[in-house]
Amino acid sequence: MSFLRNYISTVYNSVRSLLIGMRRTGYYFTHHKEIITQNYPENRDQLNLPERFKGEVVMPHNDNNEHRCTGCTACELACPNGTIKIITKFDISPEGKKKKAIDTFIYHLELCTMCNLCIQACPTDAIKMAQTFEHSVYDRSEFIKTLNKPDSKLMEGVE
C-alpha cells in the first residue's frame, strides 16, 4: 500500500513542480515588458557608455592642435604587448636648445588588450581611453593608428 502511496505522490509532486516551471515561462510569454533585448544599432544614440570604459587609446588635442605628450616612452615601456611605438625627433627651440618631442605616436589597435597600463604610466596625462567600441574595419592596416595629429605641438607648460 505504501508503494502505491509513494507512486501516486511522486506523480503528483512531479506534475506540480513541472506546472510551476511552466507558469514561470508562461508569465514571461504574456509579459512582454520584461523583454531585455536591445535593438542595436537602432538605439546607438541612446547608448551611453560609462566614462571609464576602455575602448581605445586616444590622445586629446586642444583647439590649437596641441597635445600633452612629451615623448618620454613611459607608456611604451609599460605596455605588455608592444602596442605603442613612439618615434621621437629633436626640435630646436627658439633659444637654440635641442628638445625631444614626438614625431609619431603609433598605436596598434589590433594588439591592444585595453589593460590601461599605459594611461597609468603616463606622467603628463597625454593619452586616455576613448569610449568607442565599434572597431571593425575591412583592412587590418587600418588598425595601425597615428595618435598625434599632423603638425601638432606640445602644449605649453607640460614637461
Partner: protein, 337 residues
C-alpha cells in the same frame, strides 16, 4: 479516369502547399514563442515584425549545397528525408480541417493514423544508419527505442476514445462530440488519457523534453548531423508538420476537431457557437495544442534515455492501461454525459 487523376494531382499540390505554409508558420511561431519565454524579441528584421524571416531562411536552405559524406550509403542517405516526409504527408489524409472537408474519410481512420505514424521512424533510422556518423547512429537508435515504446501509450490513449465512441471512423468520432467534447464529457479518465496522449506524442515527434534523437548538447544534431541544405530542410519541415498532425489528431479525438463548443442541449448557445466557422475551431484547437508542446520544450530540461524509457514503462503504460479499464467500465455503464 483522367478526371480522377487530375483531382488527385490538384489535391497533392494543395497538400504540398499546405505543408510549406504550415512549416513556415510553425517555425516562425516556435521562434517567437521561444523568444518571448526567454525574454527576447525574436526575429524582427525581415518583413513586418519579422514575418518573412522563415521565408528568408527557407531560401537560404534551398540555395545551400547539399553535401553527401563520402562514407555514406548514398541511396539510403538521399532517400531518408523523403521517407520521413511521406510519412507526414500520408497522415494528412484522414484529418478533417473543417466541416465536410476531409480528404479521405476511411472507416478505419484511427487505425490508419496509428499505423502510418510509425513510418517516420524508418526514415530516421535510415538517416542515422546511412550517414556513417556515430552521432547520427546513436541518435537514430535512441529515436527507434523511443518511438517504439511511446507508440503504446499513444495507442492506449487513442483507444480509450474509440471505446467511448465505438467507431474508428474519424467523421463519426467528431459527430459523437455533437453534444460536447469528450474531454469534458468523459470525466477524469479522458483527462488522464489526454495528458498521456500529449506526453506520448511529444515523445513520438522527438520534441523536447524527449528530443533524445537530436539532443543538441549531447549528440550535436543527432540523426540529421550530416544533412545540409534542402534535405535538412525536409527533416525540419517534417518535424513541424508531424507536430501539426499529432496535435490535429489530439484536437480531433479529445477536443472535437472542427466541432464548435457545444453544451448538451442548450440549443441557443450551440447555435451561437456554430456562427464561428468550423475551420477556425479546428485550427484554434490545433494551434493551442502546438503551443502547449512548444511551451514544454522551452521550459523543461531533457530526460536521459533510460529515464525516458522508465517514464514510459513504469508510469505512462501502467497508468494508461488502468485508465483504459476504467474507461471501458464507464463506457459500458454509460456513466458519461
Amino acid at each position: 479516369m483522367l478526371t480522377t487523376l487530375t483531382e488527385l494531382t490538384i489535391v497533392g499540390i494543395l497538400i504540398l502547399t499546405l505543408f510549406a505554409v504550415l512549416g513556415l508558420v510553425l517555425v516562425f511561431m516556435e521562434r517567437k514563442v521561444s523568444a518571448y519565454m526567454q525574454i527576447r524579441l525574436g526575429p524582427n528584421r525581415v518583413g513586418y515584425k519579422g514575418i518573412a524571416q522563415t521565408l528568408a531562411d527557407t531560401i537560404k536552405l534551398v540555395v545551400k549545397e547539399g553535401l553527401t559524406p563520402n562514407g555514406a550509403d548514398k541511396f539510403l542517405f538521399n532517400l531518408a528525408p523523403f521517407i520521413v516526409m511521406f510519412g507526414a504527408m500520408l497522415l494528412m489524409a484522414p484529418i478533417p480541417f473543417a466541416r465536410n472537408s476531409q480528404i479521405w474519410d476511411l472507416n478505419i481512420g484511427v487505425l490508419y493514423i496509428t499505423a502510418v505514424s510509425s513510418i517516420s521512424v524508418i526514415g530516421i533510422l535510415m538517416a542515422g544508419w546511412s550517414s556513417n556518423n556515430k552521432y547520427s547512429l546513436l541518435g537514430a537508435m535512441r529515436s527507434g527505442a523511443q518511438i517504439v515504446s511511446y507508440e503504446l501509450s499513444a495507442g492506449l490513449a487513442i483507444i480509450s476514445i474509440v471505446v467511448l465512441t465505438g467507431s474508428l471512423k474519424i467523421s463519426e468520432i467528431i459527430a459523437s462530440q455533437e453534444t460536447g467534447w469528450w474531454i469534458f464529457r468523459g470525466h477524469i479518465p479522458v483527462l488522464i488519457s489526454f495528458v498521456i496522449f500529449i506526453i506520448a506524442v511529444t515523445a513520438e515527434t522527438n520534441r523536447a523534453p524527449f528530443d533524445m534523437a537530436e539532443a543538441e548538447s549531447e549528440l550535436t544534431a543527432g540523426f540529421h548531423t550530416e544533412y545540409s541544405g534542402m534535405r535538412f530542410a525536409l527533416f525540419f519541415l517534417a518535424e513541424y508538420v508531424n507536430i501539426f498532425i499529432v496535435c490535429a489528431i489530439g484536437a480531433t479525438l479529445f477536443l472535437g476537431g472542427w466541432m464548435p463548443f457545444h453544451i448538451g442541449n442548450w440549443a441557443g448557445f450551440n447555435h451561437l457557437m456554430d456562427f464561428i466557422p468550423s475551420s477556425i475551431w479546428f485550427f484554434g484547437k490545433t494551434f493551442f495544442l502546438i503551443f502547449v508542446i512548444m511551451w514544454f520544450r522551452w521550459t523543461f530540461p531533457r530526460l536521459r534515455i533510460d529515464q525516458l524509457l522508465n517514464l514510459e514503462w513504469k508510469y505512462l503504460l501502467p497508468i494508461g492501461m488502468f485508465n483504459l479499464l476504467l474507461m471501458t467500465i464507464i463506457a459500458i455503464m454509460g456513466w458519461y454525459f
